[in-house]
Symmetry: C2
């Protein structure tokens, strides 16, 4: 077994604390990764606080993992020790269902194995990247482009692919008017990708003080969503709106901004259902949709795209010991735009 040092939640309410545990030995198709950095996703908080239920403690969060391969199993084909790699939200799937065959492992009919708090075939519960190493089947390991700053790559593995995938699926490009609702970890990546794909990008935010930042990130326009007049000016004009907000909010107000055949895609999971009138979709043949991360192959495509176009996340680095403060700041939207844990600080 491989000795591992990490941070875990021990129950739904206490702060995260140090936790020592064992990883499985490196199997024939596995790689062992020395973790350098791990991004902090809002999902980590939901999961460790059992807000989505099913939390299994001690729970080690973290699914925006980057590091260096230390060892590979004997049948590993695509990686070698020394490779700089990433691991995202998934570490396993059935590989034989329709979804897996279509490279959409996130929708695996058997349920994919998530990077933490998920049951593995060996009966263990997966433990994530708030730790100094991880053992992962090579199928779920991604190559990191050498030209990007490694710490800034970490959040691409969740926030990046979550926003890249739907915009690729709905074929966003030149001539499209794209809205991005919310300017957090997901939203700021949504802006970067939409702009990079050639769209005209409008950011919707409740915070007037985010206006300058949104423009700096690449937004062409910023709308304060509380201002009904500003919203009205954009009625029936958007090809696509990416809604990254996971708090309850008025989705119908954004449906009104879609043009004919427009799509509003939700990537944030609000805890309460949305109130959607049939008429909001019937008039204009609009669609309300959702999207979940992306498959492994598409995640690699996204990383390669980021390498080519020099796209990374805007991050604030923290030592492992500051994770609980970071959680509180995330809940106040007080981060630009993603915390990344410097995993080397675990040893301090």
């Amino acid at each position: 077994m491989i000795k591992t040092q990490g941070y875990a939640g021990y129950d739904a309410t206490s702060p995260l604390k140090p936790y020592a545990f064992d990883r499985r030995e490196v199997g024939e198709s596995d790689v062992l990764i020395d973790i350098s950095y791990c991004g902090v996703c809002h999902s980590d908080i939901h999961t460790v606080r059992n807000e989505w239920s099913g939390a299994q403690y001690p729970l080690v969060p973290g699914h925006e993992i980057v590091g260096t391969i230390k060892k590979v199993g004997e049948k590993v084909k695509n990686f070698k020790a020394g490779d700089v790699v990433g691991v995202g939200c998934m570490v396993g799937s059935c590989s034989s269902c329709d979804c897996c065959k279509e490279h959409l492992e996130q929708f695996c009919h058997q349920g994919c194995t998530f990077t933490y708090n998920s049951l593995e075939t060996d009966g263990n519960i997966t433990k994530g990247g708030y730790s100094d190493n991880i053992v992962v089947n090579e199928k779920f390991v991604l190559r990191v482009p050498a030209n990007l700053k490694l710490a800034e790559v970490a959040p691409l593995l969740c926030a990046g692919i979550t926003t890249y995938s739907p915009m690729k699926h709905w074929k966003i490009g030149k001539g499209h008017k794209v809205g991005v609702v919310g300017l957090g970890g997901l939203g700021h990546m949504g802006v970067k990708f939409a702009r990079s794909f050639g769209a005209h990008v409008v950011v919707f935010t409740t915070s007037p003080n985010k206006k300058d930042d949104a423009l700096k990130l690449g937004a062409n326009e910023v709308v304060i969503s509380k201002n009904a007049d500003e919203m009205k000016k954009h009625a029936n004009s958007f090809d696509f709106i990416l809604d990254t907000v996971s708090a309850p909010h008025d989705v119908a107000a954004y449906l009104a901004l879609l043009k004919l055949d427009g799509t509003l895609c939700m990537v944030g999971a609000s805890p309460l259902p949305h109130q959607i009138a049939s008429s909001a979709l019937i008039w204009g043949r609009k669609s309300l949709s959702g999207s979940l991360i992306g498959g492994v192959a598409e995640t690699q495509e996204m990383l390669d795209y980021c390498g080519k176009h020099n796209i990374t996340c805007d991050i604030e680095m923290i030592p492992m010991q500051k994770i609980n403060e970071a959680y509180e700041r995330i809940l106040k939207s007080d981060v630009k735009y993603r915390f990344v844990i410097d995993i080397r600080t675990l040893k301090e």
Copy 2:
């Protein structure tokens, strides 16, 4: 002016009664149609009872109109006296906006002119097909295939195109599993079209006694939607579900039956908003959409398709004088599947 005899609602609560009024003279681009039959749509009831607000009395409903051209204006190009034609839900639109240019007049940015209770450019309120004639710009007049029974064609102008259009838009065909929710005027046409397009068709109904009828209409399977076990068997299996129900119902239960990238399209307008959890769409990248009738060109395409494939509505003919009883029976879903008024009875 053209003397017209019809039936109108005089307020939101009284029964419809005879009403004599004038139509405009036949303009240079207009045709005058002697109406033979008019279908009875649930929208007629909503509108005349002011359930959608905005009712202007006396209100003459009816937008599933078929008859024979009696006279044409001097600039009319495509029709001549004696032609057998139809008029659907629209009689005008701006013809210059993006939607009109794309032959989607139903989404005209200026608002299309509906066949009844709609403001015309001359300041009059349109009056529908519960009447012995109508004057319509030729752009909104449709040719009826000669091989079809005329009375059975009438409801194609609304119930037909409302179900044909979304299935064409979402490219339903062989290899698709299609659900049709509700077996009324819209639903029974949805079944006929879906089957004709080559799909495997599953009807969802709350009424076990509709099972045999659904199979006769062409359904491959029938699911009693109140039976949770039956519903569960179809989880994650549908490419497309056409939801024709306009009463409040659990749309989320049908979202669970869609497979990856599946679409649930609503064509019935429930008076209450639906409760839609983000997660119901995020898992499986599903879409909740809507569709509204169809453009004029597509309505003609649908009629031609029906002519070629010998598709019409199953109807129950009534004399004009029975319209109020028909409304009560519609509200009890007691019709297979559409009432059609024999307009000649107006003279009785």
